[in-house]
Structures are given as structure tokens and as C-alpha cells.
Symmetry: C2
Subunit: 144 residues, 2 copies
């Protein structure tokens, strides 16, 4: 069973391009979207949480967060541990989330068009499995 990486990677750039086109009107890129998405899902979160979830180093998340703060899509919640920066979506952030989420879902539907339901479900199951296998031995940046 050869060539799975090739098939996988052949999707990446077109996908990112489409997503960035979709997000551009909101002043977002996919990497910023990831942060919004995470916060919306998990509730108020810290940089370390986001960082370790996405397997990305802290400085990268710092930068994403700063950009989202500038755009007033997220804001800091003061808490008692003063090391920690807990962030949440602003009202605007929530609105932007909703709009983008909807458009992304539409795009997802478009991309899965022509696939049987079971095929789609299998994809949903297999992709995380691949990720898991990928992280198991070689140690490719999950635990930050």
C-alpha cells in the first residue's frame, strides 16, 4: 500500500488556499482560525493548552493570540494565577466564529460530495487513527 502520503499531501495546498480565501474577508488565516475554533470548543483557554493541542510551539501561539487581540476577536480574562493568560472570544469573536464555521461546513460538504455516508464516516475514523500512529514512535511534536 504505497503512496498514501502522496495522496495526502496533494490535498494540503489546495485546501489551505481555499480555507484562506474563505477566511480572508474576516481578516483571518487558517492558523488564526484554529485558535478561535479551539476556544469556542473548549471555552476560555490558556496559550499552553492551545499550543499543546495543536503541537505548535508556544511562541507561535503567542503571535497568533496577539494578532487576534489586535483584531478584537479574543480578549484576556483576568484570573488569580497571574502567570496564566486565559483568553476567550469577544462578542465579535463569537459572531465571526459562527459565520466562518458555517462557510467552512459548506465547503466541507462540497468537498465530500459524491462520497457515500459510510465512506465519510470511515474518513472521520481513519484520519485520527493515522495521526495517532504518526505520533506514537517518531515523536513528531505533540507534547509541547
Amino acid at each position: 500500500m504505497e503512496g498514501i502520503f502522496r495522496h495526502y499531501l496533494a490535498i494540503y495546498r489546495p485546501l489551505i488556499t481555499r480555507l484562506n480565501q474563505l477566511l480572508e474577508p474576516y481578516g483571518l488565516t487558517y492558523s488564526l482560525w484554529q485558535v478561535i475554533f479551539y476556544i469556542e470548543r473548549e471555552g476560555p483557554s490558556t496559550l499552553v493548552e492551545i499550543s499543546s493541542y495543536y503541537g505548535v510551539e508556544k511562541p507561535s501561539i503567542t503571535r497568533r493570540v496577539h494578532r487576534l487581540e489586535e483584531r478584537e476577536l479574543i480578549e484576556q480574562i483576568p484570573g488569580k494565577d497571574r502567570r496564566v493568560k486565559v483568553i476567550r472570544l469577544t462578542g465579535r469573536g463569537v459572531a465571526v466564529y459562527r459565520e466562518c464555521r458555517e462557510k467552512i461546513s459548506l465547503l466541507e460538504g462540497e468537498i465530500m460530495k459524491g462520497m457515500a455516508r459510510e465512506e465519510q464516516e470511515l474518513l472521520h475514523r481513519l484520519l485520527p487513527e493515522i495521526r495517532k500512529n504518526l505520533m506514537r514512535k517518531g515523536g513528531a511534536g505533540d507534547e509541547a
Copy 2:
């Protein structure tokens, strides 16, 4: 069926990291590997062909090709259309291809471990289909 992009993208960084680790002993990165791979598969090719296959702009491919030429893994074939730069693998290029191909196949096997044969086959079928859907309307860098 939401969240397919998220599942897909969660694989990208760990995968690239693994591939780059694997290729590093050969002075390659995955982006250079893509070019070698394409040429090996398709035979002598032009920059535009590679560029449009991967959905990457021409200048990016120019750079990749230059780097591979420096490393003497590919070389130019003179042809009659003097605008076109047709490249092929050198002897060293072929040797490096073989070694890397083998290692990558092993990694692919490792990553697919625990999947039924039919599941693997389905992946091989569905990923290209996704790519096709992705390129169809929005125009995400196929026709360069």
C-alpha cells in the same frame, strides 16, 4: 459531517516532521522530495508540470529545482523548445530516490498499521477524490 478539515490538518505537521527527519540524511526536505518523486513517476518533466501538479507557484519550483541541481540529483535535458527546461533524475538521483522510497514505504506501513486492507484501499481512493473536488470550483492553484 463536520470537522473533516480539522482531522485532516491535524496530521500535517507531525507527518512533515517525520518525513523531514527521514529525508535529512540525504540532504532533502519533503518539498525537494516531491520534485524527485514526480520526475521519477512521470519521467522527464518541466517546471510548469511540477508546479501545476502540486498547486505551487512557479518561483517555488524554480528554487526547488535549483537546489536539486546543486545537489546533483537532477539535471536538465536539452530539447528543441528553448523556453522549456526539461529535467530528469541523475544516477545519484535515482539511487537516492530508491533509498528514500523504501524508507518512506516503511513509514507508510507503520502509519497504516491496524487498518483493515479495505480501509487502506478506501483511503487510497478517497483522498484523490477529495483533491479533485477541492480543485473543481474554487480554483485553488491547479491551473498555473
